[in-house]
Subunit: 595 residues, 2 copies
């Protein structure tokens, strides 16, 4: 039967050995994250996810949320779990100590969030959205707003939401219509309908702080006239406690393919009282800073769901006996062999394994750069880390969710017919996972962000920074015979990415449709290159451990996986490069009517 | 809102122009299928699917089937639709006239079945299973059994099922335990539990004829001791009418990810009366002949679901306005452009389009060979067609469902957030589609069938027949400048398939795990080659039509799609070949405990 075990050992391997986060102990907050603290946080967090959240995952899917008279009831057990989560301080792990946070590095919070997603993604979205909304407030809010809202949001006493989408506009926010009319007292009356608002209404927190994009009367058309407002469900009174009920209501719950435990709300604002966050007409700027972090979080969901799918399909493959190994019985005393003996089953397991371990390293490496970007006292480090964050965010979001979803599907496939039944749980994982390719900007939008904005940023400084990092690693390790397969694989895929980049620079400027036509394959080639780098880094560490006499079988396994990645994943690079270089002509040849 | 239009025009293009089925009018039954008859059947069948079955698709998903006191109730409207289907004679289209069938070619039935799947897959499985069971009876039954059962099964008055799987064995039927004890009167007492029995119990037909695999007491262990029995729900009386209720019962309904409208039953046989079909201990032979046809049917489901997903995502992409074309507004009077202007949306639409049109040609071409195998009076034709059928069956089953599922997922992706909501229907299509990769032998089992059995059959005659067919086409068309892209693409991919085949013959015999490790990539390379052949054939016909002055835009569209296929699909061939040639060493390197 389905189960989940927090992958603490692998997370510690990445943090302590591969990334050696302790080398940055001069960065504020890092010194507090000693190996012991990291280990304790992950162990305790892991237990919470295994014992409290995971058992509620199926309950959430089965019961879903219910709406009655504007009030949403979450599935049985969610409210209690939320209380445990907030009381233990898990929501404030990496928050600013000035507002009650623990100030630990964000990479640690990310590692914990991986476990939350694996154990119960629908639940995890409630604190996840709060965190996003608090972050937007942290970036864009006035000191007064921060003092009022942040401590209660970080503690989880109040939760938060992000209100962007309207029925007629999602990606294209320039068309949004929700309007804000000044009340004359510094507040605005917000009127309009927002849809797909995750955690828009629920029964777990005493107040819900909505961040809402709206257009102030008379503002310029398009994206230049959008402002951000804070619109609390209960307006805080003079003591900062929930007061008057605001004129906003959940008008309906979306019936969805998955994440049933999360309330996806239609939110109706009927002259609700709101306050500007940041400057008028500059709302998108704050929203996008916040959204970039949310995109990393979605990428992480791709990893988290792939991890739990991997664990369960592995257990199934070891347990289910069916048929005999092609090379003779491996379980001669039983009526059949466990299906893990079959090469095609192993192919799927190995795909999952190299994905989750590579993606984990990539997500944590990126999160580390997020910490350095915001906290390092060295300007060059901040610039480099900021460049990498900007560049890698769309890659993490889209590549980790595309491939994570594929891995979940392979996990389901390993289960055979059982995978299609609700009893085994993995069909829920697949249904839950499907949204990750869509929300916070579809994966196609991510690809366009990468080729259309991130590549060209600052005179192509980010992509050159990335290539320089890879070149440095290659130069440093090229002579090591033990790492030959990984380093040569990395060198080859990096050369292909360079070629694709050059093509884009030349042909994408000639015809913007060439950039659009190449975007998804370019992003996947980018993702492959990142994973090749991570696997080469992991192989280097594992090899050193083995050389030093460490007999933990994990290191030998890492060496096998690194080789598997080069043999079985890197061949995709040629396909992506060929498609990139094909251009837009045939793709755009048909009139819409000819489809 | 979701809709479905039967793709009659494209089916007629394939049958009349690409395959020119009328060239085989000397084959029994073919002359009756005049162009007018084919057209009338598809038009009328299409209307039935559009107007009767499609509106019930969502109903079936929402309501599902219910079990009470051993009786299963199908969703609202299913029973009435079934009555309409059978009264109109649709279930007997290609059945033998000796038993009340219309004797039309099987390819026509397959074209109709594509539409049934597109409009309502869960419904279509009821007559589909009956057809499979009747076919097994047709192959293996005695004359008396055929006379008793076939007319009522072909007419749909009685339905049928296939009972293979037990809780502990699915793929590995050698372990099955259901037992058969002779009653002394020619009948047997069947006892055991079968699971995942589609249409095992329902309220649409007056009798249900179960074909059950069981082991006669004292039979040899393993697959050599398995017999096939016919076990009717109501035992036919002396007039051939449903009589005594047999000792079998539906013990439960599976809760599944999709195809909720189909009853997936646990079937308990408690000394139920059954009769041997064919010889004792030879049950698997009949079952496998039948199952090969069922596998084609599942491949067809991959196509059918991709078609309806394509239609709905295309409509969405033309209707939904969001953002502007990268090359300037295409809908300057509106607030935004329809999303079909975006290259990455088009990429997904083009992928769907070349898949469904290529897969349709491939499925119909294979079905035509099925007709020729069984009905041609020329022995060489029968042999060649039989070879192609044997070889292509696993390819059609696995490639069309793997890629069909991917296409449905791309269709969902085009819908953005709407795709994840139940309102738009496509999430149901994805849930329904997921089973096609699993049942009737998982796609991994298909790949093993291809490399382990079909390649080596009859001294490799089938694969050589296939290569000779491609070589003939290439030689014939190599000089045609208009077809250069397609013919060169076909030539290149065929050479890669040949290389992979040679590798398999050499390395697969050295170490069987090499064959297993290569199997899925080999099958996909095979599928790509088949699709390349179909697209080259379609390009040839379209080009000839254009040359002859036909201005139907469909032909110009076919030429664009043929080119797109070469540019954007064929690059995958190198990836598959590289993986095939990698072998099993790294894949099998880890101990099970090291995962």
């Amino acid at each position: 039967m389905p189960s989940y075990t927090a992958p603490v050992k692998d997370q510690l391997f990445v943090l302590n050995d591969v990334l050696n986060v302790h080398q940055y102990n001069n960065v504020p907050g890092f010194a507090e994250a000693t190996p012991d603290i990291i280990s304790a946080v992950l162990e305790e967090g892991g237990k919470f996810c295994e014992n409290v959240l995971y058992p509620l995952n199926k309950v959430g899917d089965k019961e879903g949320c219910t709406l009655k008279d504007g009030e949403v009831t979450t599935p049985t057990g969610f409210k209690d779990a939320y209380q445990q989560l907030t009381e233990a301080g898990w929501t404030a792990l990496s928050a600013d100590p000035q507002y009650g946070g623990q100030g630990l590095p964000a990479y640690l919070n990310l590692a914990f969030n991986e476990m939350i997603t694996s154990s119960n993604m629908a639940f995890g979205m409630y604190p996840g959205l709060t965190n996003g909304a608090a972050h937007a407030m942290f970036i864009g809010g006035s000191q007064e707003q921060k003092d009022l809202y942040l401590p209660k949001m970080y503690s989880g006493e109040w939760s938060g939401t992000m209100n962007l989408t309207e029925p007629h506009c999602g990606t294209d926010l320039g068309m949004l219509r929700t309007k804000a009319v000044p009340n004359g007292d510094g507040s605005y009356a917000i009127t309009g309908q927002k849809i797909w608002i995750s955690a828009g209404e629920h029964d777990m927190s005493s107040n819900i702080i909505h961040l809402v994009l709206a257009r102030v009367e008379g503002a310029p058309a398009g994206v230049k006239g959008i402002s951000l407002f804070v619109v609390p469900k209960f307006i805080p009174d003079e003591n900062g406690e929930p007061g008057e009920r605001n004129a906003l209501q959940c008008g309906g719950l979306e019936e969805k393919m998955g994440i049933h435990g999360n309330a996806t709300c239609v939110m109706n604002y009927d002259g609700a009282k709101g306050w500007l966050v940041g400057e008028e007409n500059k709302g998108l700027r704050t929203m996008f800073i916040m959204m970039n972090e949310a995109r990393l979080g979605v990428g992480l969901q791709g990893l988290g769901l792939a991890e739990v799918a991997y664990q369960n399909s592995l257990a199934f493959a070891k347990d289910r006996i069916q048929g005999r190994s092609l090379t003779g019985p491996k379980n001669p005393d039983g009526p059949a062999d466990p299906i893990i003996v079959h090469p095609d089953v192993r192919r799927m397991l190995m795909n999952q394994k190299v994905f989750v371990e590579g993606a984990r390293a990539l997500a944590l490496w990126t999160a580390l750069h997020g910490d350095l970007e915001h906290k390092s006292e060295d300007e060059a480090t901040r610039e480099k880390s900021g460049d990498l964050m900007a560049l890698l965010t769309p890659v993490i979001k889209a590549y980790l969710t595309d491939k994570g979803y594929d891995c979940v599907s392979e996990g389901l496939q390993i289960h055979g017919g059982s995978g299609f039944t609700q009893e085994w749980g993995i069909e829920q994982t697949l249904r839950d996972a499907r949204i990750t390719l869509i929300y916070e900007g579809t994966n196609g939008v991510q690809a366009l962000d990468l080729v259309g904005r991130k590549l060209a940023m600052a005179g192509m400084r980010p992509i050159n920074t990335f290539f320089a990092e890879l070149d440095g690693f290659i130069a440093e390790n090229e002579g090591d015979a033990d790492l030959k397969v990984s380093v040569e694989g990395l060198k080859a895929v990096k050369a292909k990415l360079q070629k694709a980049t050059n093509w884009l620079v030349e042909k994408g400027l000639e015809n913007f449709d060439n950039a659009g036509a190449a975007s998804t394959d370019y992003l996947h080639l980018f993702g492959l290159t990142c994973m090749a780098y991570m696997w080469a880094k992991m192989a280097k560490v594992a090899n050193a451990k083995i050389k030093a006499g460490d007999s933990d079988p994990m290191y030998a396994s890492k060496m096998v996986c690194a080789k598997y990645f080069v043999e079985r994943w890197l061949p995709q690079a040629d396909t992506h490069l060929a498609r990139v270089e094909t251009g837009a002509e045939t793709l755009m040849a048909l009139d819409a009517a000819a489809f």
